[in-house]
């Protein structure tokens, strides 16, 4: 009996302590910690509560081409195109569905949103991104933003209760995925990323593909590593994140728009070949139909951005000049208007 009383008193005290400490933490160190570990949330804090929609994006939203006369974000262009809807922006470099999910969980309850626009980056489903070193930071951010007591989130970060892995561990996983994921492309000799990339790296393709040179082989290799994969709607972490976003949006009664970014398919085909386009198309159509079936408004920019709009020429990115950003904004606008008309 004595031990029960002893434990009960301490348990009650612990709960009182915990809530008091949490308040103290919120009023002292929390903002600094958010700034350090999950700075994207700061963008969400400044979103006006009366906004109708939030555009969640990564660097594609704000990256500019040197010489662009208009330097607006995609989200800003969209806001201008739809004057009747106020669209707020939450963005940061390198984000993917995992971070958007944490942010969506943190949308203030007082907001009466009609839409959330989620940027979907095709590359974020690839092993190259899923096992990138930057994942540690994103996983840490996600934990920091969990809807639990912030002081406990902070301590869980100290205990590394997020998907922390060393760069070496992630590299091993990435290479395993490249090796184990079989493509089964008809009439094609290479069955996985490693084989495909090795063939390219050993320059055997220089003779086959007139578009390849010693200089652009590394870029071709990046295209294979980033674009060649089989989208797995059961096990891919990003699919799980997107599904969770859909589920939250359904519960909170706002529409979700998945803004599938355009990829430089022209360059991909020129440097690597139609086999890569075959895989990309297979994944794209699966992704679009998978989420359309779930009632998500899919904005499919995949083939919409011409090569001339892509800014980076040494790495496959979704950084567009203003013309490219405007195409994306126009497509989202169309989707929103169509949806409004339907309703």
């Amino acid at each position: 009996m004595k031990i029960v009383k002893y434990t009960a008193i301490r348990m009650i005290l612990a709960v009182v302590f915990l809530f008091t400490m949490n308040q103290l933490y919120l009023n002292t160190f929390w903002k600094d910690d958010i700034n350090k570990h999950a700075d994207t949330l700061e963008n969400l804090w400044v979103v006006p509560l009366e906004s109708d929609a939030i555009y969640f994006g990564e660097s594609s939203n704000f990256h500019i081409q040197e010489g662009d006369s208009i330097k607006h974000r995609i989200s800003y262009a969209l806001d201008s195109l739809l004057p009747s809807i106020s669209i707020a922006t939450v963005d940061n470099a390198g984000l993917h569905a995992g971070t958007y999910l944490s942010l969506v969980k943190n949308i203030p309850k007082e907001m009466n949103l009609k839409f959330v626009v989620i940027t979907v980056n095709y590359r974020s489903f690839s092993a190259n991104w899923r096992y990138a070193p930057f994942e540690n930071y994103l996983a840490k951010s996600a934990l920091m933003l969990e809807p639990s007591l912030p002081i406990l989130n902070k301590y869980m970060i100290s205990l590394k209760q997020y998907d922390y892995q060393s760069d070496e561990e992630r590299n091993v996983q990435m290479k395993l995925a490249w090796k184990n994921e079989k493509f089964a492309i008809p009439n094609f000799d290479y069955d996985n990323v490693i084989e495909w990339d090795s063939a390219m790296a050993w320059h055997t393709w220089l003779e086959v593909n007139p578009n390849l040179t010693e200089e652009n082989i590394p870029l071709a290799s990046h295209y294979i590593k980033n674009f060649a994969f089989n989208l797995d709607t059961v096990n891919n972490e990003r699919i799980e994140d997107l599904n969770a976003i859909v589920s939250i949006a359904n519960n909170k009664d706002y529409k979700v728009i998945f803004n599938l970014l355009g990829e430089n398919f022209e360059e991909a085909e020129r440097l690597v070949g139609s086999e890569l386009i075959y895989l990309m198309e297979k994944n794209r159509s699966l992704l679009v139909s998978y989420y359309a079936d779930k009632g998500v408004i899919m904005v499919d920019n995949f083939y919409q951005i011409p090569d001339s709009c892509f800014v980076d020429r040494n790495w496959p990115t979704e950084h567009y000049n203003y013309q490219g950003k405007k195409i994306v904004a126009e497509n989202i606008k169309k989707a929103i208007i169509e949806n409004e008309l339907h309703n």
Partner: protein, 465 residues
């Protein structure tokens, strides 16, 4: 599984509940299973080493007790020690030896083809449990203790999880009677153990790991760092390693206390020492006493000539350096400590004085020396250590000084708590504090632990040894 992990936070209460749920005769198996699980969670393969070490020393103990012939007893002791040190040598020193053989051979013969280093992983805790088992066999050999007949208890003595991976290095006659004692659930043990675990986590996660962030940044760019920051970095490292290891030990002692086991104290405010000799009486006490009993005394201790004594001191400290790691930096660290101890003996530095100013001066000198020697300990190699000292003198510009205030505040808080608990450990010191003040202390410690623990969690420094 490490002490500052969620796994351990769940594991410890589970073992605790299971331990008291079962009757005394089953408890040894609960603790044994928990200890093996604890170790397996690091690396399952290396459990074989612990099992081998356990069987060798268990067998050696029994044989020693049954054998009368002095030469056979010496042979048994020799085999046991060689087997234990053999494992230790292979896993910890083989590549270091190979590297040095390569260098010597290259110097002798320019065309020598160096042998490549082997890919050897150091089993965590090997230096600690090896010393613990060696002490058992030597004590049986010397007739100080009787050989343990019960294999389960002996296995538990070797691998008792709170002190398995980084000590305290326990002697058989301290630990075994406690493991065998029939215990009841005592509230004081829970509160005592809980307090120590809390204080240990505070030392490790709040102080050591936060200081470590600064220290890592300084050691990561010695040339580009301002001299003042290099000095602060070396002082911070002194406290980082202290709080890291002291924190670990305190959690170990607290965890063991939950099972009514009192582990040995490892630290007694070593940085208040006024001589290097005194520092070693208060730093990593269980290792120091191990060296004293099994190396220093057998070499004659302070009973022989000054030369013989000096050689014993040199041997002990160099072995201590080697024990810490297979690097020349550790050997030099040990050697310099030995030289300072010898110097203090010659000039009678340790002579008691009531002069406060003199005591203060001695404290400053001692702390400065110990801190300077930690530079060898922390540096990856001798060149880096020398560069560190050179760089302290070369960049006194005002620009680039990094004076983040938070580590200083946390360190100040720790220093005060360390001084206040210098006579009794933290748990005992709290007994005399009024309950309201005690509550306030808990509040501050838990708040700091939850909110200010460093986010880039580092493993315990002493795990690498």
């Amino acid at each position: 599984m490490i002490f500052n992990s969620l796994e351990y936070i769940l594991f410890l209460p589970l073992v605790f509940v299971l331990f008291y749920l079962f009757r005394h005769k089953f408890r040894v198996f609960i603790l044994l299973a928990a200890s093996y699980y604890f170790y397996i969670s690091w690396n399952p393969v290396f459990i074989i080493l612990i099992l081998l070490s356990t069987l060798i020393d268990y067998g050696a103990g029994l044989l020693l007790e049954r054998t009368i012939s002095a030469s056979t007893r010496r042979l048994i002791l020799g085999i046991s020690i060689c087997a234990n040190l053999g494992f230790l040598f292979f896993f910890k020193y083989f590549n270091f030896a190979l590297e040095n053989v390569n260098e010597v051979m290259l110097a002798v013969k320019g065309s020598y083809q160096p042998i490549e280093a082997w890919d050897i992983i150091l089993p965590v805790g090997i230096s600690f449990y090896t010393f613990q088992t060696i002490s058992y066999t030597i004590d049986v050999y010397n007739g100080k203790i009787n050989a343990e007949k019960n294999l389960s208890y002996f296995a538990l003595y070797v691998c008792f999880f709170p002190q398995l991976v980084a000590g305290p290095i326990e002697r058989y006659n301290n630990l075994m009677p406690q493991l065998k004692e029939k215990t009841q659930l005592v509230i004081q043990n829970i509160s005592h153990g809980g307090r120590l675990i809390l204080y240990g986590l505070f030392m490790k996660m709040v102080i050591a790991d936060n200081l470590g962030v600064f220290v890592d940044s300084v050691y990561g760019d010695v040339v580009g760092t301002n001299s003042l920051n290099l000095l602060i970095g070396s002082v911070f490292y002194s406290f980082q390693i202290y709080c890291d290891f002291h924190g670990y030990t305190t959690i170990a002692i607290g965890s063991a206390k939950l099972f009514n086991v009192n582990l040995s104290e490892n630290f007694r405010t070593p940085y208040l020492s006024t001589s290097v000799t005194e520092f070693w009486r208060n730093w990593h006490i269980t290792l120091t006493t191990w060296f004293r009993d099994y190396i220093y005394y057998p070499l004659g201790g302070n009973r022989g000539t000054l030369l013989k004594w000096g050689l014993a001191i040199l041997t002990v400290f160099i072995v201590s350096g080697v024990w810490h790691g297979a690097k020349w930096t550790f050997i030099f660290w040990g050697l310099f400590h030995a030289l300072f101890v010898l110097f203090e003996k010659v000039v009678k530095w340790d002579k008691q004085s009531t002069n406060v100013f003199l005591k203060g001066l001695k404290w400053v000198v001692t702390f400065t020396l110990v801190t300077a020697l930690w530079v060898f300990f922390r540096s990856p190699d001798m060149d880096a250590a020398i560069l560190y000292f050179k760089s302290i003198g070369s960049n006194w510009a005002i620009e680039g000084i990094d004076l983040r205030i938070e580590p200083f505040i946390l360190l100040g808080l720790f220093v005060v708590s360390d001084i206040l608990t210098r006579k009794k450990n933290f748990a005992l010191s709290l007994n005399k504090v009024p309950s309201l003040a005690r509550g306030a202390i808990y509040f501050v410690l838990i708040f700091l632990l939850l909110s200010r623990s460093a986010t880039d969690m580092n493993p315990f420094i002493y795990f690498q040894f």
